[in-house]
């Protein structure tokens, strides 16, 4: 009896494994037929494209990756959300094809080319119950460096301020800190490792203030997006630059090393105007429509 159970269990496992082999390609094909119409550029591309880097770019890369795989069923695009710093590292080492960075390249990061595919506003968010609706850049700096400790100093309720930020390697944090001038000076009550985690933490706490990619906060309830110096964080204001807290979404490639055909095709797709709608759908501002 025990032997039969063991054999059955093993058989189930092996069956599942091999059925999934075909299921993998079947699902992609089914999605292709049920999904949006392909662009007709269905040359028989095959291979894999590995992207690695920023967690803020998750939604943007997610939609591009999915649509590209629907159009080209034999290509597998993978995305590892490890943070902008690691993504740049990975593409330098050659462990991934395209690195994703939600910030400009640093001077020390040489031998790489960054191609901006979108601009992303960093929204300043507070809990949905907060009385605050506007904040100035200086006030942001004071809050995050700990000079202002209580919401009442800004016209809110008498609650201690809890600053929720990102981990040290985050491109979002880098962008936020460089524009608000708070680099190395932030006093955070929580350091979380992703955009989603920050949003969740702010949702759950009346005292919280945090920063997160606009593409991720749009449409979320339980949080309020503050206007900065009277300027609302939206696609338009990010595009024309009036909303200052923004950073580029970059595809980073290594100089002098040619991309594989599949990777090059994905790169071209992501930078083409065909991808603009998808990028907008993901909440970022496509730069093929932006002034240079």
């Amino acid at each position: 009896m025990k032997k039969t159970i063991a054999i059955v269990l093993a058989a189930v496992l092996i069956l599942a494994a091999f059925s999934a082999c075909s299921a993998g390609s079947k699902t992609a094909a089914a999605a292709a037929s049920g999904g949006q119409a392909s662009n007709g550029s269905a040359a028989a591309l095959s291979g894999s494209v590995s992207t690695n880097g920023s967690t803020s770019m998750e939604k943007v890369i997610g939609v591009l990756q999915e649509q590209f795989m629907n159009d080209n069923p034999n290509v597998k695009v993978t995305y590892d959300a490890t943070g902008s710093g690691t993504g740049i590292e990975a593409v330098t080492n050659g462990t991934c094809d395209i690195g994703l960075a939600s910030r400009k390249l640093k001077d020390t990061e040489t031998g790489l080319t960054a191609t901006t595919i979108a601009l992303d506003g960093i929204a300043i968010i507070v809990n949905g119950d907060s009385r605050l609706s506007d904040i100035s850049l200086d006030q942001i700096a004071n809050v995050f460096t700990g000079k202002v400790k209580n919401w009442s100093e800004l016209g809110g309720d008498d609650l201690e301020i809890a600053c929720i930020g990102r981990e040290a390697g985050s491109g979002t944090r880098d962008g936020f800190e460089s524009i608000t001038g708070t680099a190395d000076a932030c006093v955070l009550s929580q350091e979380l490792t992703s955009t989603g985690a920050v949003i969740e933490a702010v949702k759950n706490s009346k005292n919280a203030i945090g920063y997160a990619s606009l593409s991720a906060v749009e449409g979320q309830d339980g949080i309020k997006i503050l206007t900065v110096g009277g300027v609302e964080c939206s696609e338009q204001t990010v595009l024309d630059g009036t909303y200052t807290i923004q950073r580029p979404f970059n595809l980073v490639t290594k100089d002098g090393a040619a991309l594989s055909p599949a990777a090059q095709a994905f790169f071209d797709y992501a930078t083409s105007s065909a991808a603009s709608d998808l990028i907008r759908q993901a909440g970022a501002v496509p730069t093929s429509h932006a002034k240079s």
């Binding site: 025990k2 032997k3 159970i5 063991a6 496992l13 092996i14 599942a16 494994a17 091999f18 999934a20 082999c21 075909s22 299921a23 993998g24 390609s25 699902t27 992609a28 999605a31 999904g35 949006q36 894999s48 967690t55 939604k59 997610g62 939609v63 990756q65 999915e66 649509q67 629907n70 597998k76 993978t78 995305y79 590892d80 959300a81 979380l192 490792t193 992703s194 955009t195 989603g196 985690a197 949003i199 969740e200 949702k203 993901a282």
Partner: protein, 285 residues
């Protein structure tokens, strides 16, 4: 029959009684809250769609089918390696080893392995399999890391069940001219099978529940892969997916549904292990 207790003793007695009942009630409450929260928040979100599709950005839906498959894959990879090696080591320790020091060394080694936290396995696994051996993040690297983690369990349970086979069986076979391997294969192993299966179920339980060791070895990927593809591509198992959906994506409904599935899985595994254990005990008598 009444005891004549001094008031001090009676007071202490009653206090202890109250303490016992309070503790038990507290534990009960905690257990009920946890199981209740998981079931209440998770069952509602469980749907056929969740279980059989993969996460799509375009359609803005979430599906955990890839994660279920990844968990099955990693069980397969780990057990295929850990079971033979573990059973083999246990056989050597009980049937062949003459050097008592060696036996004690191996037993010390397995005991040490059980005490090491899983994040260190993950760290060393990443170091060894990904940085040095050059594997990519995926089920293979994750599975190999888990092999090291469950090996002690397999060895120990196999050893114990081998020990329950009466020496008379062994001596009888040897007296009839059988070689040692022949004896082990035909007499000892079949009788120890129940214990080996119990050990396997325990190991599978540990594999299903592991997360810290897999973060950096098997990765965070949520894409559907076939078995051989997943070996070398970043694949999140159910537990890692729970972590991702809960803390990085903020999808607590999905996270609770995964918790539900894990709860049910653990329950079934416990049931199976108990059954196998009971049969083992009956055999031993």
């Amino acid at each position: 029959m009444s005891h004549h207790l001094s008031p001090k003793r009676r007071l202490r007695d009653n206090l202890l009684k109250v303490l016992l009942y309070t503790c038990a009630a507290l534990t009960c409450c905690l257990l009920m809250i946890i199981i209740g929260a998981i079931l209440w928040r998770g069952l509602g979100n469980l749907s056929w769609k969740l279980l059989t599709s993969q996460t799509s950005y375009l359609a803005d839906t979430i599906g955990i089918f890839p994660n279920i498959l990844n968990t099955l894959y990693i069980i397969l990879v780990s057990m295929i390696i850990a079971l033979p090696v573990g059973v083999g080591a246990a056989i050597y320790l009980t049937e062949y080893a003459v050097n008592a020091k060696f036996v004690r060394l191996v037993e010390f080694a397995t005991e040490t392995l059980t005490g090491i936290p899983s994040i260190i396995f993950g760290l060393v696994g990443m170091l060894l399999f990904i940085q040095i051996l050059g594997l990519k993040q995926g089920i293979l690297a994750g599975g190999l890391t888990l092999v090291v983690m469950v090996l002690p369990t397999v060895i120990r349970t196999t050893q114990e069940s081998l020990k329950t086979v009466p020496t008379a069986f062994r001596e009888g076979a040897l007296a009839l001219g059988s070689g040692k391997w022949h004896m082990v294969r035909t007499v000892v192993l079949p009788n120890a099978m129940d214990g080996i299966i119990t050990g396997s179920i325990l190991s599978i339980g540990r594999i299903v529940g592991e997360s810290a060791a897999l973060l950096f070895t098997a990765g965070f990927g949520l894409v559907l892969n076939g078995f051989f593809e997943s070996l070398q591509s970043s694949s999140a198992t159910l537990t890692v997916a729970l972590y991702i959906y809960a803390s990085e994506r903020g999808e607590t409904g999905v996270a609770f549904s995964i918790a539900c599935i894990l709860l049910i899985l653990t329950f079934l595994l416990n049931l199976a292990a108990n059954q196998a254990g009971r049969r083992l005990m009956r055999k031993g008598q």
